[in-house]
């Protein structure tokens, strides 16, 4: 399986008259899970949007296999690079199978017909996300966790080698968050898909990332293995928060415990 290389060079981007990213360099490790963390408005989502062609850069470029993605035909790019945006919209009354099959969009031109291969891609995506039995249900009737799995299934049906996800666990309770992240690890291990996602929860980020990226002020402040990035000094710099970082007794990964101002003394 070919591993695609995705990287950003001297990237600046923003909206209207605010520049959010400034001269950022970022190399996505192929075949690994990269998680981006950072305080609100540090440019995490902007980075993901610029790297997936949703936002044109002011300066610099994003390269996929050495070619600028902003000069690649959208459909061609969408066959290699997938993105699950923060708030996708489900048309009223659409069924799960129908929505998931929209993921096949970039594989069809104006005249090519739907074939067995497309049905297989959709079935595979439904199985991977464990929603085969929901196939004919309207998406409106599903719970938040189920719905998020449907959106991930749509991104899987796109069968891209690189998948970007903007906060795939927001609005989910903790068990569903873990379920979604486990699913992404399966995908990474079974298909070698390169995954880049933005997560809010630092401990889940450290737990699931191969490569952890901490952003601050529109730049990458620290990146590397979670144990090197999730440190008390970095948390202080990136989030302005005093904390303790200890090792998770199960996984050995770092866990961050915020200190705050209250209830710090042990009480009986």
């Amino acid at each position: 399986m070919t591993k695609h290389s995705l990287s950003a060079h001297q990237l600046s981007a923003g909206y209207a008259d605010t520049i959010i990213l400034e001269g950022l360099d970022f190399q996505v490790p192929p075949g690994q899970i990269t998680v981006i963390v950072g305080a609100n408005a540090c440019g995490k989502s902007t980075l993901l949007r610029t790297m997936s062609r949703l936002l044109p850069p002011r300066h610099g470029q994003v390269l996929l296999d050495g070619k600028s993605i902003h000069r690649t035909a959208p459909r061609q790019l969408a066959q290699v690079l997938g993105l699950l945006p923060q708030s996708p919209i489900a048309p009223e009354g659409i069924t799960v199978a129908d929505l998931v099959s929209r993921g096949r969009h970039p594989h069809h031109g104006m005249i090519s017909r739907w074939g067995r291969k497309d049905d297989e891609a959709v079935a595979q995506a439904l199985e991977a996300t464990n929603i085969v039995e929901l196939a004919e249900r309207p998406v409106d009737e599903l719970s938040g966790g189920q719905r998020q799995r449907v959106w991930i299934a749509m991104a899987l049906a796109q069968q891209t080698q690189v998948l970007l996800l903007d906060e795939p666990t927001t609005f989910l309770d903790i068990s569903h968050q873990v379920e979604v992240l486990d699913l992404l690890i399966d995908l990474n291990q079974q298909r070698g898909t390169t995954i880049v996602m933005v997560l809010h929860d630092l401990n889940l980020a450290a737990r699931y990332a191969d490569h952890l990226v901490a952003m601050a002020g529109g730049r990458i402040f620290a990146s590397g293995p979670p144990a090197d990035v999730l440190t008390e000094a970095n948390v202080r710099h990136v989030f302005g928060l005093e904390s303790r970082v200890i090792a998770d007794p199960t996984s050995g990964r770092p866990i961050m415990l915020p200190l705050g101002r209250h209830r710090m003394a042990k009480t009986g």
């Binding site: 061609q76 969408a78 129908d98 199985e127």
Partner: protein, 342 residues
């Protein structure tokens, strides 16, 4: 992956495709039946045999005039205008993901109508020149409301409110031109304010037919990308859709359809607004709504005109009937949108 789940997916897809085909065929059958009935039924009844002979060019005493000169041009115009309004309305509603974003609500139909009435009454133009005037004005209005509601991207709600304002201004312009017109005539005034197919001639349908072929074809060629836009701009882009290019093409096509038809019939009230929601009720949200909405539009205009002519105590233009149908739905939508805070 197990065979069972592939079969579930394939079976579901085939079921959707069949259901879609059944609905389209049923709507088509309804339209054809309606068309045939309006040729036979009027103030007098013309037997089907006579209608067919007139259509084949034979001279049938009595029928040649009523069917050939009155009913046929009227029915053809009603169907073509209805198809145009249905398509154009659905395109806007799907693209902006809001049923209120219909061209007859946000001022595009009023713009085309104002331009047509100005071209006819003041400039004394006719035929293709009026259509071109109407299309240009329609695009001008689209550009204006897009520009006025632009603030880091276009939000649907802002665009709709701006459009309603622009629409009100254009309607008062139409009234002004009509009142100042030398040959002020109630029938004509009704046409430019609510839409009418009165006094139809077969030649009037030609520009609409051409516009359906060109703009309708352009729209259908963008149908897949329009489907992707329903998932949100970001998702559509992530699926490889060229969002801006799709928007521009859809706007040109939809404005063209609406404006050319409006230049002949006036803005037949609420047909663009009602067609896609009615089609969605019957059709479900699977697949593209464009063709079902076009068929619903044609049925609405044809049936609305028949009701206005023959089933009410006095004769009304079709726009009065469709307007009476559309207004309650508009109120319902606004109340619902207000409740959900959207």
């Amino acid at each position: 992956m197990s065979m069972a789940s592939v079969d579930i997916v394939a079976a579901g897809r085939i079921r959707r495709v069949r259901r879609r085909a059944r609905v389209v065929l049923a709507l088509l059958a309804l339209l054809v039946t309606g068309f045939a009935l309006t040729l036979m039924l009027g103030q007098s009844f013309t037997p089907p045999g006579d209608v067919i002979r007139v259509l084949m060019g034979h001279d049938v005493p009595g029928a040649t005039f009523t069917v050939g000169q009155l009913r046929l041009p009227r029915a053809v115009l009603a169907v073509l205008a209805g198809l145009s309004f249905g398509l154009g309305g659905a395109a806007f509603q799907i693209m902006l993901r809001n049923p209120l974003a219909s061209p007859d609500i946000i001022g595009i139909s009023s713009g085309a109508s104002a331009a047509a009435v100005f071209a006819i009454v003041v400039l004394r133009l006719d035929g293709a020149a009026v259509s071109i005037f109407a299309v240009a004005a329609g695009l001008g209005v689209a550009l204006t409301i897009y520009g006025l509601s632009w603030r880091n991207g276009v939000a649907g709600a802002r665009l709709i409110l701006v459009g309603i304002g622009v629409s009100a201004m254009l309607d008062s312009f139409i009234s002004y031109v009509l009142v100042r017109a030398p040959a002020w005539d109630l029938q004509e005034a009704m046409r430019w304010l609510t839409g009418s197919v009165n006094g139809a001639r077969l030649g009037q349908s030609l520009p609409i037919l051409i516009s359906l072929l060109i703009f309708g074809g352009l729209l259908m060629s963008r149908s897949r990308d329009l489907q992707a836009l329903r998932l949100g701009d970001d998702s559509a882009a992530a699926l490889g859709t060229h969002v801006t290019r799709t928007r521009v093409m859809v706007i040109i096509a939809a404005v063209g359809l609406i404006a050319v038809a409006t230049a002949v019939t006036g803005p037949i009230a609420f047909v663009a607004f009602l067609s896609a929601p009615i089609a969605a009720r019957i059709f479900g949200s699977e697949g593209s709504l464009l063709i079902p909405a076009a068929l619903v539009g044609a049925v609405l205009v044809l049936a609305g005109d028949y009701v206005g002519q023959f089933l009410l105590p006095s004769r009304y233009p079709v726009g009065v009937v469709t307007g009476a149908l559309g207004a309650p739905y508009l109120i319902f939508l606004i109340v619902r949108a207000h409740r959900s805070g959207a």
